[in-house]
Each structure stands twice: as structure tokens, then as C-alpha cells.
């Protein structure tokens, strides 16, 4: 924090906070802060960059727009919602953070997650790691076969792909098939033992959505619609979202 004096009381101006309040129901209660600190006490990102949710909101209230629009802390927030969960005034700090993220020029947003979003847009798999359809199908089949052959009791375990009309469409975070394929198996076993009628899809199978994390509404929507279409195309009743 700067130790420079902050001047207040000049000509009225529209603050960033006010713009966000216009977007949210009840203004997100962004004016209602009592500075009690409950949010900061539960936030996993408290202390990083010397910031916490309370300070962020206070800066927004004091009109320190420049600082809050530039702070990296907007990207440290995990959107866990612990702050608003206990806030006596139900202040929507996550939404404030989200809108801060949106205000960043796209090409200045954190490279890693931005590129993941771009990657996911490249194919109907929606995989942020760029795992393609073929690779995906192959690794699932391969690992399932191995389980059937080597693990007693699971000789009939299946990891269905594109099974039309299955009750549940299960999605999968890209990390497992790409780097730790065996980690997919425990859930398959549970579903198998439970006699659940499920399937993977070859399209829209990736669970992650980095476009949401970089606050790219348009592409976030695009990704979700792609996935939803994949579920509908298979005629599944429930979409089991593991993210």
C-alpha cells in the first residue's frame, strides 16, 4: 500500500464500484461493508500482495480505481466464495473480483490461463490442454482394458464412450488423461460397482473451463454450449460435472 495521502471529496465521479453495483442485484451490497474482517479471516488469498478481500473492497469504496484495476490480487482470488458465505451483509466480493478481471485487456490477463482458454476453443473436446478426440478415446480404452485384465473383480469394468442414451454423461478434467491416466480409474470402479449407466463423450468431454477463470464471458458461454450440445447429442439425462 502506498503511504501517499489519498484525497477525497472532490467533484463527484463514477467509481468502478458503482459500475459493478449497477450490474448486480441489490448492488451486490458493495456499499454495506462494516469492515468486520470476517471475509479476510477466511480467505485463502489473504496476505498475498499485502491484500485481502476487505482491503480490496475498501479501496474500491475510496475510489482507488487505478490501484484495484491493476492489482494482481484479482487473479489470486480462487472464487471459493468463503468471503460472502460469512459476510454479515452478504457482500458479493467474488463478483467485484470477477468484474475486475473482466476489466483487464484480454491480452494482459495471466498468460497461462488465457492460453488454456484459447486452447479449449480450438476443438470440440474443449480440452485446455489440447488433448484431441483420438488421443482421448485411445487412452480411455487403453486404461480400461488394462484394468479388466489385471485387477481381479473388475473383469467386466467398462468406460463407455459415446454411449447413446446413457443416464449420466461424465466429464473429465484434461489433466488425468494427459498426464495421470490411472487416476481416472477409481471413479470408474465406483460407477461400475454402483451399476450406474454412464458414458464419456468424445466431444465436450473436458471438465475445465479456463475461459471462466479469465472472465471471458463470451468464450465461457461458447465452451459451455459446446459441452452441453455434446451431452444433448448423446441424449443423456444428467451431466455429471466433476469440476
Amino acid at each position: 500500500m502506498t503511504t501517499q495521502t489519498l484525497p477525497l471529496g472532490g467533484a463527484p465521479k463514477s467509481l468502478f464500484k458503482d459500475k459493478v453495483m449497477d450490474l448486480l442485484p441489490d448492488g451486490g451490497n458493495l456499499n454495506a461493508c462494516l469492515t468486520c474482517g470476517a471475509c479476510a479471516a477466511g480467505c485463502p488469498a489473504t496476505g498475498l500482495e499485502g491484500m485481502d478481500p476487505r482491503k480490496l473492497l475498501r479501496m474500491a469504496s475510496l475510489g482507488m480505481d487505478e490501484e484495484i484495476l491493476r492489482t494482481q490480487w484479482a487473479w489470486y482470488c480462487t472464487m471459493c466464495q468463503r468471503c460472502i458465505y460469512v459476510c454479515p451483509m452478504k457482500i458479493d466480493i467474488p463478483q467485484l473480483v470477477f468484474n475486475l478481471r473482466k476489466s483487464w485487456p484480454r491480452d494482459r490477463r495471466p498468460k497461462g490461463i488465457r492460453e488454456s482458454c484459447d486452447m479449449a476453443l480450438r476443438s470440440d473436446t474443449c480440452s485446455a490442454m489440447g488433448a484431441n478426440e483420438e488421443d482421448w478415446r485411445y487412452v480411455v480404452e487403453d486404461v480400461a482394458e488394462e484394468v479388466r485384465q489385471s485387477q481381479p473383480g473388475f473383469e467386466h469394468l467398462l468406460a463407455p464412450m459415446d454411449k447413446k442414451g446413457a443416464t449420466y454423461f461424465l466429464n473429465q478434467n484434461s489433466r488425468e488423461p494427459v498426464t495421470e491416466p490411472d487416476e481416472m480409474v477409481p471413479l470408474w470402479k465406483v460407477l461400475h460397482l454402483g451399476g450406474v449407466d454412464w458414458t464419456y463423450g468424445s466431444k465436450g468431454w473436458a471438465a475445465e473451463n479456463y475461459c471462466m477463470f479469465i472472465a471471458d464471458d463470451e468464450n465461457w458461454e461458447k465452451v459451455v454450449r459446446t459441452k452441453a450440445k455434446a451431452v444433448d447429442d448423446l441424449g443423456c439425462k444428467y451431466w455429471l460435472n466433476t469440476e
Binding site: 500500500m1 502506498t2 503511504t3 501517499q4 495521502t5 489519498l6 484525497p7 477525497l8 471529496g9 472532490g10 467533484a11 463527484p12 448492488g27 451490497n29 456499499n31 454495506a32 461493508c33 462494516l34 469492515t35 468486520c36 474482517g37 470476517a38 471475509c39 479476510a40 479471516a41 477466511g42 480467505c43 489473504t46 496476505g47 499485502g50 485481502d52 476487505r54 482491503k55 475498501r58 479501496m59 469504496s61 475510496l62 468463503r82 460472502i84 458465505y85 460469512v86 459476510c87 454479515p88 451483509m89 452478504k90
Partner: protein, 951 residues
């Protein structure tokens, strides 16, 4: 409670609820359902055998689930009525048809499983609804772990832990392992000021103070080892009389006040204690372990109050409390039905007691024409003549739970007392003040032919009248009881030396016995009551009090120093609920001026006051002319005023003004104010500092209302409030929320870093600092409004005239802050309004109405009895008149009379004025005057007894 239970004119209907209601004010018909007790009260002797034999245990709601009770139970040892009951939802017989053990063992055959519920009709003239509150239940708040983590308790559970009658007999232990906690944390605002996890957007008003109280008492309970105490809060709300000093004393005591809220409470190591994380105001994250966490839960409207409101046809507000106007706080939305206490709005005991008296006055107003038609007088058995009898003293040593017995070995004291001269009977009681003990004492008096009683217990101030009454019921003169204060003067102050305390208690009992042996029956004097009232002060409090008295039929004189009625209210726009003040004020003044029973004297001052309760005479100067008035009771409503600040450029720059000055501008020139760009408020100007170590209570609310008004006039205006603690208690919290929602910015400052105000040509600059960002701020504003302290109007002359009192801050003092909040320590005098303490309109009005109720108790009778502890002149008086000057009440006069042909000078004492203080007796060198009940022989006997060796 005991007084209520034994009052001839009060009929108690317990285990009852109202199920039907109709009629009109003055004539209501109420249907009451009386649930069966299953134990006949006329037979029950509260021996406890049924509870002992009952096999069914359930959580004890009195101890908030910390212990168990039986299906056959009594709420607690001092219950009124002192009768057991059977819980139909727990009882094995009533639920499943088996058992009936209680019936077998009840010695009087009081169990009656056949008892049915009864529906009863009652005809009444008025109704008062006082269903109270239910503490907030934090079970649903998973982040605090209440119900899951054993060492998280609510404050009301903590009261039970502290309580001598509680599950651990007052020994504070934590639930998980019953070990004494050495580190305790309080968390404030649980279930209050919260619109996320509950719908209680109001402040419960009491929790900050009760937490401080609990912490200070905990410090006392911990024998030897200190307990580290911490309180997590948002604002510390201690806006009441003497509250600020109490808060400061807690800080001085080392209690940690942290302006911070933890997010989650987690179980401590091994499932004992708790762990919490919190962030300091500077933003530092800390984690700490505590042995016990206390959640300071808020007050919600009592369970069932919604149903009650429906039955009685009254409206509730958005929180479920009774809807009432701040201009008539105890009136519900239905004529003839009144609301009071915590049901009207969350509040603590003093304001509940005050408002209850106000409701009584309001309820009685419509009925005063039939006052006395349905009441009965208490009659006592004829007094036994004990003259000529040798003293037979009964000694009752009280344990007071563990209040006394925890320090003093009461059994040993009782044993000791048996051997004292003239003692015929000794008993040790758990609680001597309870209803059943009164019956027991009366029985012992009769059985053992006792003619004097000594009660070794608390201070006479609490229960002496009760014991005097008990003696009268037993056929003895009430003045034959002597109390030895082994509580305030012993167990409370010698907690660390129990052996010496016990020895001292024996001394005290020995002295009391010596005095009691020489006690004589005394008789009260009767005086005629002047059934008229005097009200001093013509503000809204004085006017309301005068109107109340007049409406009850008592001629009332209303004195006002200024040339017009109304006082401070002329400067106010609206109440905290937004009701317009001016039209109401003008209406009130007109009603007062027109009332046939009120005589208004403006430009008037009181010059003299002579007399005592029931009969006063005063001279009043009106425009230079003296008038004489008589009255039986007086109500002081001298009020208060805004002080003149001496800082922040006040008086030097015209842009700096007080709240009332801003209020006037807002009333008269709102368009001009709307053009302003920025306005700032500074709170606590002249309050909560060395000069005035009290909180002026009303300023936070006033500022918040003004801030809202400014924002409504011009939403783009920058409005800043610099505060120390924002004290918008009760429903006022909604105003604080509204102000914030409108964009008013609140910036906290501390006493040791006050804002600095400078002026430049165009406006004012305020240098302060933001506590959250730890950053200096500079506010440029057009106007600065100072929340100047409220100081009492000059009242020293009046106080000197009546010999009543004022506290260190100059406000008039009440007799007892909780038990008698509108009485003054001088009988017959009452106080209300800001002269007592700064308060908002609805509180002043409630106090004013309460004084009406209290004053009516005095004026309701044509005659009243005076206490018998008065001075008496003996033959030895030779008229030296040394005593004349020492009497503070001017009760003594020197008389010349002819005795045996020779002129003789002697002192005469006026019993109406005499207070029995004893200064005369102490001064007289000749034994010419003494005080009844404290004769020189009695006092000598006490001294001799005191110096005697311990037996």
C-alpha cells in the same frame, strides 16, 4: 417475583396461553387456555419427591441444555409459584401409559393425571403484551460449529455456567472435559446486524454490555489464576449511563478488545477448546487457540409472538417485534392493547422495567375512573404483643446458593449461633428470599413462639421489606427483624480468605443477635397524601409526564424555566423511525395548555421545597412573583442541551457547525444544502474523553439520519462520517445500513489520533487516516458537522433543594439503575428524560410515562404510611440544639414550651422530614435523641458484641 406471587391484586395464570380475544378498549373479553400442570398446586409442597423418583430425563431448557431435568420438574429453586409440574411431552405415563412413580411417592397426593386443560374467559379493561424474547439459536451457522464443537457455547449458556444455580454450581468449566478455561473468547453480533445468515438486520442492544459483564465476572470467579479474555467485535456499543466507564474499566483490567471477526471456529487439539483465525485491523492474519468460545447471541422476538400478534390483532414490524410509533412507544396498533419490554424492541433490563411502568400507566389511563373497583387490600393477622416477654430469637443463615456459602462456612456460622444468648432457633437456608422460605419462617415463628428474627444474608436494601412483610404475616411486628449482611460486607469482599470470612460472619451474627434482643416493635405513622403532582421541566418528557398525571385525574403543576414549552424538540425534524416531530410537538403543547388538570407556569423557577413524599410544599417564582404550591409527588424532567465544542475550528470558521445547527438548516434551507459538494461529520466531539467520560447516546443516530437526508437531497454529494464506534443500537441499525447503501463513507478514528481540521479559502480540509488501508486521507469538504456532546441542563440548585443527587457527569441519579430506574433516592421524587441521561424521543417518553405510573402509586392513596425508623426526643433533651445544624433534612426544630410552670427548651422532630440517618443521635452528648430501631442501647450492645472474643 415473590411480590408478584403473593400480591392480592395479581392473579397468576401459569401454563396458560391466550387463544381468543375480542372487544374494545375498556371492555375486552379474553379466552385463556390453561394447560394442566398434573400436580395440584394447593396440595403441592414442593418437596421434590416426584422429580427424584421420576425415571425420565430430558434436556433442561433452563440450563440451555447443559444439564438434564426430569419429566416431573420445577424450573428452578426460586420459582414462583413454587409448585412442581409434569411435562406432558416427556412423561412416560402421559405419552405411553406406563409408570406413575411420582404418584406413589408424593406425600400429599398432589399428582393428578386426570387433570384436563381448562378454557377460561376473562373480562379486562386493557391488555399489556410482554412476551419477551428468545435468544438467537446459532445451530444453523456451520462455520461457528455450535452444536458440533462442545466448547462453543452461547452467552446464555455461559450465564448458566456462571450461575450458582447452574449445572456446575457457578464453577466455570468447559463442556468438553469440565476443566476450567484459562483463555476465553467472546464473539459479538451472532444473530444481530446480519442480513446474510439470518434476517436480523437490527442490533440487539445488549450484547456488548453483557459480554463485558460476563468477562468481568469471569475474572472474579477465577480463584487465583488469571483468565485471559478476548472479545471479537465490530463496534463496542456502550451508550448507556455509566456504560462507557464500565467498558474502560474492562480495558484497564486487561481484557483484549479486538475489532475483528473470525471466519470459522474449528475444534482445538484433541477435541478440546477451539481454534480461530482472524485478521487484525492492519491486515495481519493470526491464528489462536482458546479454551472456550462464547457466542454473544442476539435477541429475537419471543417464540410464538407471531401467533400472539394475530390473536390480539396487532401489527408487527419487519423483524417480528411489535409495531409502535416512537411518539407513543408502548401503544400497539390496536387501541387498548399495549406492548412493552423486549417484544417492543430488543432492550436490556433497565429500559424493560421503565417501559413496563410506562405500559402500566398507559393501560391504566383509560381505566382510572374505575380505579380500585376490583382490587383488594392486604390484611394481616393481629400483631402479637411481645412486650414483657424475654427475647426468643430465630436466626436464619442464608447460603444464597454459593454467593455466600461459596466463601463463608454457613453451617459453622449456624452452629455458632445456636449458642448465642437468647437464640431459640437456628436454621440454614439455601435462599432465604424464596417464597417457600417465607412460609417456613412464619411457621417457625409460630411453632417456636419466636419474638425476634435475625437474618444473616444479603443487604437490607434488597429484601428487608420482604422479611418485614413475612413477620407481619406471622403476627409479629415487622420491625422485629434484624439483618446481618454477610454477603456484600463479607462473602463478596473476602473471597480469598474464607476462614477469616467465616469468623467475621460469626461476629456479624453475634452483633445482630445482640441488637435484635433489644428490638422493640415500631409503628408506622400515617400521613395525609396531597393528591397532586408537580412536574419540573416543560420539554417533551415533562409535558408527557404532566399529561399522564392529569389524564389519571391528578391536578398537576408544570414548571418551565424558559418562556415557552417544548425544549429541545423544537430543533428536531423526525424520530429515528421518520415520524415528524413538529406537528406532534405542537399538538402536545396544545393538549397540555388546554388540559383542565394542568396548570402551566412558564418563566418559572422553583425556589424552596419542604416536606417529604406525600406532602411537599414549594415556592415558585413566576415573573418575579412568588407562588406557593403543594403536591404529593414531583417529577424532574430538567433535560439536557447540546454542548459547545472547543475544537475542530468550531466558532472560528462558519462552515463548522453542530448537529442541531445543521438540523435547523436542513429544516429551513434544504435547497441550499442540496447544492453542497461534500459534507463531513465528526462523532464523539466532547464525549468519551477525559472531560466527559460518557457516551451521549443519540448522536450516532442523529448523524446517520442527517447523512441520509443529505444523500436524499443530492445523491452525488460526498458524505463522510468520522466515528469511533458507531452506536446505532436496536432498530436504528437499519438507518446505519441505509446510510451505507446510499454511499455515505464511514471512517473510523481513535482518541489518540483525532482528525485535524484546517480551513482554506474555499472550504475545509480534514486530515485523517483509513484504518483498513493504514493510509492517510485528506477530505475536502464544504461543511463540517460536529456531533457535540450532550450535557445536562443546570440542576444543582434543584438537587440542593430536594437533596437528591447527580452523578459524576452531572446527570440526575436514579435510585437503582435496574430495579427503580425512574425513582430518585428521595421518596416521592421521580425523574425522566435527558436530565437523567441523553436519550432519544421514544426512550424519554417511555421514561415519562413510567414516572406517571410510579407517581400514581404514591398518589393513589389518600393516606400513606411512613417508615418507622425516625428520630425520637427523650426527656434528657435540654435544648442545647447541637443537633439542629447537623440534620441534613431540616427535620429538627427548637421549641419553647411550658413544663411544670417553667419555660423549657426542647427539640421537636418532624417524622415526615426525618430520614432516620442518626446524625442527631451521634451528635447529642446527653442521650436526648435517638433513632427508633437504632437505640443507643442497641448500638452499645452491638459494639460490645463486636469486641467480644469469638466463641
Amino acid at each position: 417475583m415473590v411480590e408478584c406471587g403473593r400480591h392480592l391484586n395479581i392473579q397468576l395464570h401459569t401454563l396458560s396461553e391466550v387463544i381468543g380475544f375480542n372487544g374494545e378498549a375498556g371492555n375486552f373479553n379474553v379466552t385463556v387456555k390453561k394447560h394442566p400442570r398434573y400436580i395440584r398446586p394447593e396440595k403441592c409442597i414442593a418437596c421434590g419427591a416426584c422429580a427424584e423418583k421420576c425415571p425420565k430425563k430430558v434436556p433442561d431448557e433452563y440450563n440451555m441444555g447443559l444439564s438434564k431435568r426430569k419429566a416431573a420438574y420445577i424450573k428452578y429453586a426460586q420459582s414462583v409459584p413454587l409448585k412442581y409440574a409434569i411435562d406432558p411431552e416427556a412423561c412416560i405415563y402421559l405419552t405411553r401409559g406406563k409408570c406413575r412413580a411420582c404418584e406413589k411417592f408424593c406425600p400429599t397426593g398432589a399428582i393428578d393425571f386426570e387433570e384436563k386443560e381448562e378454557i377460561v374467559q376473562m373480562a379486562v379493561g386493557s391488555v399489556i403484551l410482554a412476551p419477551g424474547y428468545t435468544p438467537f439459536d446459532p445451530t444453523g451457522w456451520d462455520f461457528y460449529g455450535y452444536g458440533r464443537i462442545s466448547d462453543v457455547v452461547t452467552s446464555i449458556q455461559y450465564e448458566r455456567l456462571l450461575s450458582a444455580g447452574g449445572p456446575y454450581m457457578g464453577h466455570v468449566v468447559r463442556p468438553s472435559d469440565e476443566k476450567e478455561p484459562r483463555k476465553v473468547a467472546w464473539i459479538q453480533c451472532v444473530g444481530s446486524r446480519n442480513t446474510n445468515r439470518c434476517s436480523n438486520g437490527y442490533c440487539s442492544s445488549v450484547c456488548c454490555m453483557y459480554a463485558i459483564k460476563q468477562m468481568l465476572i469471569t475474572a472474579e470467579h477465577a480463584k487465583g489464576q488469571p483468565v485471559e479474555q478476548t472479545v471479537f467485535y465490530m463496534d463496542m456499543r456502550s451508550p448507556g449511563k455509566e456504560f462507557e466507564r464500565y467498558y474502560e474499566s474492562a480495558k484497564a483490567r486487561g481484557i483484549r478488545f479486538l475489532r475483528s471477526r473470525p471466519h470459522t471456529i474449528e475444534p482445538g487439539e484433541g477435541g478440546n477448546g477451539v481454534r480461530m483465525r482472524y485478521v487484525t485491523e492492519a491486515g495481519e492474519l493470526k491464528e489462536e487457540e482458546f479454551d472456550l468460545a462464547v457466542l454473544s447471541v442476539g435477541l429475537e422476538p419471543a417464540k410464538g409472538s407471531r401467533q400472539l400478534a394475530e390473536t390480539f390483532g396487532i401489527q408487527l414490524d419487519n423483524f417480528g417485534f411489535a409495531q409502535s410509533s416512537n411518539l407513543s412507544p408502548v401503544h400497539s396498533t390496536r387501541p387498548g392493547v399495549f406492548v412493552t419490554g423486549a417484544f417492543q424492541a430488543p432492550k436490556a433490563i433497565p429500559r424493560s422495567v421503565t417501559q413496563a411502568s410506562a405500559a402500566a400507566a398507559a393501560a391504566a389511563e383509560a381505566l382510572h375512573v374505575v380505579r380500585g373497583t376490583l382490587t383488594r387490600e392486604k390484611s394481616y393477622p393481629a400483631e402479637r404483643d411481645v412486650s414483657g416477654q424475654a427475647p426468643r430469637i430465630g436466626v436464619f443463615v442464608c447460603s444464597c446458593g454459593i454467593n455466600i456459602a461459596g466463601v463463608v462456612d454457613v453451617k459453622s456460622v449456624a452452629e455458632y449461633a445456636r449458642a448465642l444468648p437468647n437464640v431459640a432457633l437456628v436454621e440454614n437456608n439455601l435462599f432465604t428470599c424464596s417464597a417457600d422460605t417465607q412460609d417456613m419462617i412464619a411457621a417457625r415463628v409460630r411453632e417456636h413462639n419466636l419474638n425476634r428474627i435475625v437474618i444473616a444474608a444479603c443487604t437490607p436494601r434488597t429484601h428487608e421489606p420482604l422479611f418485614q412483610d413475612t413477620l407481619k404475616e406471622a403476627g409479629l411486628n415487622g420491625y422485629l427483624v434484624e439483618m446481618a449482611n454477610i454477603r456484600n460486607q463479607n462473602s463478596w469482599v473476602h473471597q480469598r480468605e474464607p476462614e477469616k470470612a467465616t469468623a467475621k460472619a460469626k461476629d456479624q451474627v453475634r452483633m445482630a443477635v445482640a441488637k435484635a434482643a433489644l428490638a422493640d416493635p415500631l409503628h408506622k405513622l400515617t400521613i395525609q397524601v396531597v393528591q397532586k403532582a408537580l412536574v419540573i421541566g416543560g420539554g417533551i418528557s415533562g409535558m408527557t409526564a404532566a399529561l399522564g398525571m392529569a389524564e389519571q385525574g391528578y391536578p398537576t403543576v408544570l414548571l418551565e424555566k424558559a418562556d415557552r414549552l417544548g425544549g429541545n424538540a423544537w430543533n428536531l425534524t423526525s424520530t429515528a423511525k421518520g415520524e415528524a416531530v413538529r406537528p406532534w410537538l405542537e399538538g402536545l403543547i396544545e393538549k397540555v395548555n388546554q388540559h383542565e388538570h394542568i396548570k402551566v407556569l412558564t418563566s418559572a423557577t422553583l425556589k424552596t421545597a419542604v416536606g417529604s413524599v406525600g406532602s411537599f410544599v414549594s415556592e415558585v417564582e413566576v415573573d418575579g412573583q412568588l407562588q406557593s404550591i403543594t403536591y404529593g409527588a414531583a417529577i424532574l424532567a430538567t433535560g439536557a442541551r447540546e454542548s459547545r465544542p472547543d475544537e475542530y475550528l468550531y466558532g472560528q470558521d462558519p462552515r463548522v457547525m453542530t448537529q442541531l445547527q445543521m438540523a435547523t438548516r436542513l429544516m429551513e434551507r434544504p435547497a441550499e444544502i442540496a447544492k453542497l459538494g461534500s459534507v463531513a461529520f465528526i462523532q464523539c466531539v466532547g464525549s468519551r474523553n477525559e472531560q466527559r467520560p460518557y457516551c451521549s447516546r443519540i448522536c450516532c443516530t442523529h448523524t446517520v439520519k442527517s447523512a441520509i437526508r443529505l444523500k436524499e437531497l443530492n445523491p452525488r454529494m460526498n458524505v463522510y462520517v468520522l466515528f469511533r464506534d458507531l452506536r446505532t443500537y436496536g432498530k436504528r441499525e437499519e438507518l446505519y445500513k441505509k446510510a451505507r447503501d446510499l454511499g455515505v463513507l464511514f471512517i473510523r478514528y481513535t482518541l489518540d489520533s483525532k482528525p485535524r481540521v484546517t480551513s482554506n479559502g474555499r472550504g475545509l480540509t480534514i486530515a485523517c487516516s483509513d484504518p483498513i488501508l493504514q493510509m492517510p486521507l485528506e477530505l475536502s469538504v464544504d461543511h463540517l458537522v460536529l456531533a457535540a456532546a450532550v450535557e445536562p441542563n443546570p440542576n444543582h440548585d434543584l438537587v440542593a433543594l430536594y437533596k437528591c443527587g447527580f452523578n459524576a457527569d452531572g446527570f440526575l441519579t436514579e435510585a437503582h439503575p435496574k430495579l427503580r430506574p425512574v425513582d430518585m433516592s428521595v421518596d416521592g421524587l421521580f425523574l425522566c428524560g435527558m436530565g437523567n441521561y441523553p436519550q432519544p424521543i421514544e426512550e424519554s417518553l417511555a421514561q415519562a410515562q413510567a414516572t406517571v405510573s410510579r407517581a400514581c402509586v404514591v398518589l393513589a392513596r389518600k393516606e400513606m404510611q411512613l417508615d418507622a425508623i425516625k428520630s425520637a426526643v427523650t426527656e434528657k433533651c435540654d435544648g442545647c440544639a447541637l443537633c439542629l445544624d447537623v440534620c441534613p433534612y431540616r427535620a429538627l426544630k427548637l421549641m419553647e414550651e411550658n413544663g411544670n410552670g417553667r419555660p423549657r427548651r426542647m427539640i421537636a422532630s418532624d417524622p415526615a422530614l426525618c430520614k432516620g440517618c442518626g446524625l442527631c443521635a451521634a451528635t447529642c452528648p446527653k442521650g436526648g435523641i435517638y433513632v427508633h430501631g437504632f437505640t443507643l442501647e442497641q448500638l452499645k450492645a452491638q459494639v460490645v458484641a463486636a469486641l467480644a472474643a469469638n466463641g
